[in-house]
């Protein structure tokens, strides 16, 4: 081999290369998930606009706005995966990426095909929105098609993401790879999460516009006020299901990638997991706070119930986010022979145990949030709300809500990607040197499998 062909220029630092993936992946995922969720919101709004034709212009305006926002964000986001694949994956993680592409070849082919379909549908709708007003059913049909394309895109990329964590012991049958143990839980988790995230982004964007409208264009304030609450309803309504789905997902990780699960729950990542629970609680608290302020601003009924729900959410979050030990990992506790309750001089905190305390706290969090949502919708259904009288404070709270949801997504990404350590593909390929594991030899994770 010629000396000139040796890849000396490629950075060899695992930390540096991982950082590149983290930055690019986070950016891409936040936009891609918004696109997937926003396409659902667009279908819903366009459908309602058609049903209420002549009675309610807001949904039509929102659907158009969402579609335009999808076109803009997609235009930016489309460049990221290309950069990701060409430079980050092929350049920095070449061995891994080629191995992965060979394993999930057809999945990537479908993904690429769907990407093409997305381009065609999205830009057709963007460029012809007004012209298609005369053919509204066709326009709705195209939106539904776009929604389906984005759903399948998510499905196929989830196959890759879930395979890396639970590769079914390296089973090479296509069906076992596609329907690996964490694929469906991840699909359900993301399907719900995407809609919630799109709702939060829509609400935050509308909150910014609402604050501006209050200063410059008061005639637009009622519309943006209404959009803020519409987005928040999706954000909280779908997030309520997430603790249950996320728990099921973690359960599958426990059953099929025990080492990764142990790292999440008892190892280095257990404190990041507590941060995640804290963020989850904050999402519910901020959303309920918004609903409470929104009702109060219009003098609607249900404020007292929402105050109680808010109190319950705060208590439940504190209990759920409580550490189960006063040390970084469970290993530290065991090593120091202090695995007994703190009142007996140990480092363990039985009040903060996952089972049953955190589970019950999460159930309480879900119940309180469902109650808050129901109380708000009850007032809404009785026409007790006036649009345009929301306070500036509540709009700022919604922006904070979107920031917390974004942080939550990033935290979940950190947990899932780092839980596999020291593997890129759990039990099959290591991060260090991208070595394929020889199962005949002891490997870094052999004792955990």
């Amino acid at each position: 081999m010629s000396h000139a062909l040796v890849a000396d220029a490629v950075p060899q630092s695992v930390l540096g290369n991982s950082l590149w993936v983290a930055i690019i992946a986070s950016l891409h995922i936040q936009i891609a998930t918004f696109l997937t969720g926003a396409s659902t919101l667009t279908v819903v709004s366009e459908g309602i606009a058609m049903l209420r034709e002549g009675h309610d212009q807001r949904h039509g305006r929102l659907a158009h706005g969402l579609l335009r926002s999808m076109a803009y964000t997609f235009s930016f986001d489309a460049a990221i995966p290309i950069f990701w694949v060409l430079f980050v994956f092929l350049g920095l993680w070449g061995t891994f990426f080629i191995a992965l592409t060979r394993i999930t070849f057809w999945v990537f082919i479908f993904e690429a095909g769907l990407f093409l379909a997305e381009v065609i549908l999205l830009y057709t709708l963007y460029a012809n929105w007004d012209r298609l007003t005369a053919y509204r059913r066709a326009r709705l049909g195209l939106l539904v098609l776009l929604n389906l394309v984005l759903f399948w895109q998510m499905f196929f990329i989830d196959v890759v993401a879930s395979y890396m964590l639970t590769p079914n012991g390296g089973d090479r049958s296509q069906l076992a790879q596609i329907l690996n143990p964490t694929d469906i839980p991840l699909d359900v988790h993301r399907l719900i999460g995407n809609i919630a995230w799109a709702g939060a982004v829509t609400a935050a964007f509308a909150a910014v516009r609402y604050l501006r409208a209050l200063r410059r264009a008061p005639e637009d304030a009622p519309f943006y006020d209404w959009v803020v609450q519409w987005g928040v309803l999706f954000a909280i309504g779908f997030t309520i299901l997430q603790p249950w789905v996320g728990y099921s997902y973690a359960k599958e990780v426990q059953l099929h990638a025990y080492g990764a699960w142990y790292t999440m729950m008892f190892g280095e990542l257990s404190n990041v997991f507590l941060l995640q629970i804290t963020l989850l609680g904050l999402i519910f608290i901020l959303a309920t706070l918004y609903l409470l302020r929104r009702l109060r601003a219009s003098g609607a009924s249900g404020v007292r119930s929402l105050r109680i729900a808010l109190g319950l959410e705060i208590v439940a979050t504190l209990l759920a986010a409580m550490p189960s030990r006063f040390a970084w990992t469970q290993g530290d506790v065991t090593a120091r022979h202090l695995d007994r309750p703190f009142w007996q001089g140990g480092l363990e905190n039985p009040v903060g145990t996952m089972i049953p305390n955190k589970i019950i706290a999460l159930l309480a969090l879900m119940a309180a949030s469902l109650w808050a949502l129901t109380v708000y919708l009850k007032a809404l259904s009785r026409d007790q709300l006036r649009w345009g009288d929301a306070t500036r404070r509540s709009a700022r709270g919604v922006i904070a809500l979107a920031v917390v949801v974004s942080m939550m997504m990033a935290t979940m990404g950190v947990i899932r990607e780092h839980s596999r350590h020291p593997y890129l593909i759990y039990g099959e390929m290591t991060i260090e040197g991208q070595h394929v594991v020889d199962h005949a030899q002891p490997s870094p994770g052999a004792t955990q499998r």
Partner: protein, 397 residues
């Protein structure tokens, strides 16, 4: 002589006079007239057909069950052999058993849809509260029939289902172990368990089921089909006058008593015969045809003979118990099973049954009563998600 005179008449006259004799004594014509010519709301007839389809499917279960009884031996040592004989040597045995299984699957789906329709349309409100309560209990009885039926084959699936299901009461405080022992007949699943489960499956539950069906139908006839809020919308500028006219010209069983004037009589009605009964028959026939085909194509599985000592067999629940099974996985320890598995499910079942007494709003349209619709849809979504996740887990066992 009278008999000879009767036999000498033409056949049509003989039939007519025979019917006249019965009618004079039993009042069949007036009964048929009352049964067939009652008014039902015009809009939504295909959705109401789910109720009749439920009845048709329950009758199908009864008939196929009777045929299965001709071969099945409810004995711990012979149950499996009798079903093996039925599957392999009886000419239509496998098909009939398949129909019994697929009939149960479709029945559970149809009852679920029927309940969903009733829930969304708020048909359970005054004075139809007992219609809903009896319907909800019927749903639970059907689930009970399904699970007790799944234990009877005494193959590995049946045996381990019996082990898991009869162990569930054990998690109830104080009385749990007593109920488990009563059902099992000892500490372990054995011959007495099968006998008792068989008794529950073919006598206790069907008795309760048919008694409740009678009550449910009687209540339906008494109050009439509510339909949905769209049947009660007003078109004119004077809604009060329109409603008054509607009540005045209403046909039996309308106007419904003990309800608000607005909900007393639907806007347009049709006769049960032939309009509604046609839809009922179409839906029932389609469903039975599906059952027929599925029982022929897929049949009913029969595992290996039950092996209580096996260490390799992994019991898997029927699909309609997947949400519950997944729930038990999420709440793995004794205390949590009580809270999550029994507490949440028990409270959910109780709230479902008592729904008409919990929903006190006057509104009927779903968008006007989010306080009921949102928790209901949340519950339905949780059940679907748990079922999907449970199926995924079983696929990857």
């Amino acid at each position: 002589m009278a008999v000879l005179r009767f036999l000498a008449r033409p056949l049509s006259r003989r039939l007519r006079s025979g019917y006249g004799w019965v009618d004079e004594r039993a009042g069949t014509t007036s009964m048929l007239h009352k049964g067939l010519y009652e008014a039902v709301p015009k809009r939504g007839g295909w959705a109401y057909a789910l109720g009749s389809a439920t009845l048709a499917l329950i009758l199908l279960q009864l008939f196929t069950g009777i045929f299965l009884l001709l071969d099945y031996v409810p004995s711990f040592s012979q149950a499996y052999d009798s079903l093996h004989y039925l599957e392999t040597s009886d000419r239509f045995g496998a098909w009939v058993r398949g129909m019994h299984l697929w009939g149960a699957y479709v029945l559970i789906l149809v009852i679920g849809l029927h309940m969903l329709r009733t829930f969304l349309s708020a048909s359970y409100k005054r004075p139809r509260e007992l219609n809903w309560v009896s319907g909800a209990v019927l749903f639970f009885l059907t689930l009970g029939l399904a699970i007790t039926g799944a234990m009877l084959p005494m193959d590995n699936a049946g045996y381990w289902t019996a082990v898991v299901v009869t162990n569930i009461p054990h998690y109830l405080p104080f009385i749990g172990d007593g109920i488990r022992s009563l059902w099992r007949g000892s500490d372990f699943v054995g011959p007495v368990t099968l006998t008792r489960t068989f008794g529950i499956h073919i006598w206790v539950l069907p008795f309760l089921l048919f008694a409740l069906i009678g009550g449910h139908l009687m209540l339906l006839r008494r109050h009439g089909e509510f339909g949905s809020w769209v049947n009660y919308q007003t078109d004119t500028d004077d809604p009060e006058r329109e409603i008054t006219e509607r009540i005045l010209r209403a046909e039996p069983p309308y106007p419904t008593k003990r309800t608000g004037r607005r909900w007393a009589a639907p806007r347009d009605t049709v006769d049960f015969f032939p309009d509604q009964i046609f839809k009922d028959i179409v839906i029932s026939v389609v469903l039975i045809a599906v059952i027929f085909v599925m029982s022929y194509v897929a049949g009913a599985p029969l595992d290996e003979r039950a092996d209580p000592a096996t260490l390799t067999y992994v019991p898997t629940p029927e699909w309609f118990y997947l949400p519950l099974d997944q729930m038990l996985l999420l709440y793995p320890s004794g205390y949590l099973i009580l809270v999550g598995g029994l507490g949440l499910v028990g409270i959910g079942a109780l709230m479902l049954t008592l729904l008409p007494f919990l929903d006190r709003s006057h509104a009927r349209a779903p968008l006007r009563r989010p306080e009921v619709i949102i928790p209901g849809l949340f519950l339905a979504l949780v059940v679907v998600i748990l079922a999907v996740l449970g199926a995924n887990r079983l696929f990857n066992l």
